[in-house]
Amino acid sequence: MMWRRLRALVVRGHSMAPTVRAGDLLLVDTRPGCAAPLGRGAIVAWAPTALSGTVLLKRVVGMPGDEVLCRGGSVWIDGRAVDEPYLMSAQPAEAVARTWALGPDEYLLLGDRRADSLDSRRLGPAHLPDILGVVQSRLWPLWR
């Protein structure tokens, strides 16, 4: 029963603005295996073990096997700057340039508001089993 695997989530917080805003109602596909293969740029529901049950909404920026560098407000993957049209505006520079070499089931998940987001930069890369599902659509409001 596919509908039983779909889950509605109300967004709390502003770290995914402007794409997803506080109060939005999202439809998340939580079917087993829906997260694999995950697309770069997808917004996912992630339950990091460090936060014991809290579900975060973040964007997939780094894929397994990628070498990701966050530097000067930009993300570089395998030496190439990533085009991120979903970001609101120029992002403030990272205080520290950091690199992650992602393992076979590791994803780097970041918020769209880089200056104010709790994500893989502090929690570490996400492992596939901790990714609960992929955001499929916005149920409400309809006009954004």
Binding site: R7, A8, L9, V10, V11, R12, G13, H14, S15, M16, A17, V20, A22, G23, D24, L25, L26, V28, A45, A50, L51, T54, V55, L56, L57, K58, A95, V96, A97, R98, G111, R113, D116, S117, L118, D119, R122, L139, W140, P141
Partner: protein, 168 residues
Amino acid sequence: MSWTARIGRGLAAALRAGVGEAHCDIPCGIYDPHAALLAAKTVHTMVTKLEALPTPGPKMAPEEEREARNSFARMVAVKEVHAQLCKQELLILWSDFFTEDDARRRPELHASVWKAVKLCSANKQQAHHATAQALLDACEAINRLFQEAQLIKSHADTGLRPTRRAAS
């Protein structure tokens, strides 16, 4: 509440929607000394590895010397980055997590954090095992203060009093 928000809330209730946190960094109140500890451990590991590197000299083959110099540069770079990260994470705990009550209960709190961030800087300037170990010890001490403060806060939230052992 606007009509759009009312419809959204009604839909969410009808669909038994859960909450997806688009967490911001500071206002959400999620703090964890794990990141500082991990960074301090990385600094410590890098210093240990640096000490174990062969010293380039006239008897070393050119390829071996190049490898050693490359490893040296990479280890120093990682040490530099993680010492700075450790400082950043400690300062977040100090400015955003710990409260005046924590400082009153534990008068050594400010000095402990100040000493730890100074050690972050010292570990950028130096590559000494003792300095790296001192940073690790300082971060573990702050972790203990954090866990204690966290426990007291959670007891305050539930209206229970911490046990003598937990508060000691």
